[in-house]
């Protein structure tokens, strides 16, 4: 719809109209033989109606000249998967990075503005303005709705990968359908750019981590990696992920996604080699300069047996508003039998945590201290 109309908001309104009509009509008249085609046809015709009524959109004259579509003309095969065009448009360099991420999450991920705002720790109002400005810029400045031509494609990829990864992470916290969407996008990118190691690296990372989805929660409660029921791990996804990792490494990949995928792959071995994992986190921290990665290295060091080194590293990091920092400190302090400090750290983590399941997990750990 967006490719057809060149306007996000108009496409959204037309789609909503179509769904509203369907909701009202289909229970009475029965579901059409091809519901998707009916919806798209109806949405297109509603959009044409709106444009005709709105004179200021006279620039879209070419649409007025199009005959109204009929259902017979559309079948499943003519409905294009525009998600790749959409993701490259959303990630166009003329948009600020935070706008790229927000727009992709909103249009491809289907998150609400409020959910996106919470994910990035900004007020909803700020995020709403960011989205509006970005959509206006796409329309007004003529950002094309397309997959970039070959000479531009490599440069446009880095932003797209970053955004896909962010979508995956939002899904990984519990919204499973978002993770699947990110993996689908990642798979499509891997087909489109088979010689890019980081594309395979990202796909590998997402697959291996997502494979553990069913085991991460039991009855809505968080289950740590070491306690997970491995029969719930998706072995096929892990295999697919490792195949993608092999491709990335064969292409010489030592970038952030390939490294993270290698770490993820090591995590799901029967006896994870924590020292090797810690070393890879160290390499990754050098490549990215990320304190969060250093926090992961701290945890790996502790798992390898060096709890004090892990705690020292964790406490050197400037991540005071990051609940995982305090949760990690709390756990390491507990192992060192520093109970009061551990309690304080759990309380601080509880102030900052978002997810209800993680809140309950932290509360349980806190209660076990007493």
């Amino acid at each position: 719809m967006i490719g057809f109309l060149g306007d996000f908001d108009l496409a959204e309104e037309a789609a909503q109209d179509a769904f509203a009509i369907a909701a009202e009509r289909w229970p009475r008249e029965g579901t059409p033989a091809n519901p998707a085609a009916w919806l798209i046809t109806t949405a297109r015709n509603r959009a044409i109606d709106r444009i005709r009524r709105n004179r200021t959109l006279a620039a879209k004259v070419r649409l007025l000249e199009m005959p109204e579509a009929t259902e017979d003309e559309m079948d499943e095969t003519t409905i294009p998967d525009e998600r790749l065009e959409l993701v490259f448009t959303c990630c166009h360099p003329a948009l600020a990075l935070d706008a790229q991420v927000a727009l992709t999450l909103r249009t491809l991920g289907g998150l609400t503005t409020d959910e996106i705002a919470r994910a990035f720790l900004v007020p909803t109002e700020t995020m709403a303005k960011r989205l509006t400005r970005a959509k206006r810029k796409i329309a007004t400045a003529g950002i094309p709705f397309r997959v970039p031509p070959p000479h531009l494609l490599p440069d446009r990829l880095a932003a797209v990968l970053a955004v896909v990864y962010l979508i995956f992470n939002e899904g990984y916290g519990g919204r499973g359908e978002l993770a699947a969407e990110a993996i689908r996008l990642g798979g499509a990118l891997a087909e489109l750019m088979p010689d890019e190691p980081e594309v395979h690296g990202l796909l590998a990372l997402m697959l291996v981590n997502d494979a553990r989805r069913a085991a991460r929660f039991a009855d809505g409660e968080v289950v740590l990696l070491r306690d997970q029921d491995r029969s719930l791990w998706d072995a096929a996804a892990i295999a697919r992920g490792r195949a993608a990792l092999d491709r990335a490494l064969a292409l010489g990949g030592r970038g952030p996604y390939a490294l993270q995928a290698a770490i993820a792959s090591l995590h799901v071995e029967d006896e994870p080699h924590w020292r090797r994992i810690a070393a890879l986190y160290g390499e990754l921290a050098r490549v990215t300069g990320s304190s969060v990665v250093e926090l992961n290295r701290a945890a790996a060091l502790a798992e390898a047996g060096d709890v004090e080194a892990g705690l020292e590293l964790a406490e050197s990091l400037e991540l005071d508003r990051y609940h995982y920092l305090h949760a990690t400190r709390a756990e390491l302090l507990r192992r060192l039998d520093r109970v009061e400090e551990s309690r304080a750290a759990y309380l601080r983590a509880l102030e900052l945590v978002h997810s209800e399941a993680e809140r309950r997990f932290l509360q349980r750990r806190l209660a076990e201290l007493r």
């Binding site: 400045a141 003529g142 094309p144 031509p149």
Partner: protein, 118 residues
């Protein structure tokens, strides 16, 4: 779509300056050739107005009914406008590619690509 490409020379060596004289003859010729090629690009309306340098500008503001005049451009001299082109293009990517060919873009200045209201 119509775009205006606003050329900010920034640190770009300009004819008549010492910095320009320090460029090789080939580099100087390349600059002229690039501008000529750009002016001949389909869709480009060459500008018949070329501005004097930003140092020659005067900025006018009115505050509480008083006209205030300051020497120089509205922004810093380095940031000020040097000239512009009008370009009819299919989309922003095409305008960006043209902007990248303008010498100022690679020599210490920047090109602002702004869509024209339709």
């Amino acid at each position: 779509m119509k775009y205006v490409l606003l050329i900010h020379q920034g640190d770009t060596p300009l004819p008549g300056t010492d910095e320009w004289a320090q460029l090789s003859e080939d580099e100087q010729k390349a600059v002229y050739a690039d501008y000529q090629a750009i002016n001949q690009t389909p869709g480009v309306t060459p500008s018949d107005v070329w501005l004097e340098s930003p140092e020659t500008a005067t900025t006018v503001r009115v505050q509480d009914g008083q006209t205030l005049t300051t020497d120089g451009p509205f922004v810093s001299v380095k940031e000020a406008l040097g000239g512009w082109l009008v370009f009819e293009a299919d989309n922003l990517d095409a305008a960006i590619e043209l902007a990248a060919r303008i010498p100022a873009a690679r020599m210490g200045g920047g090109i602002e690509v702004r869509p024209v209201k339709e």
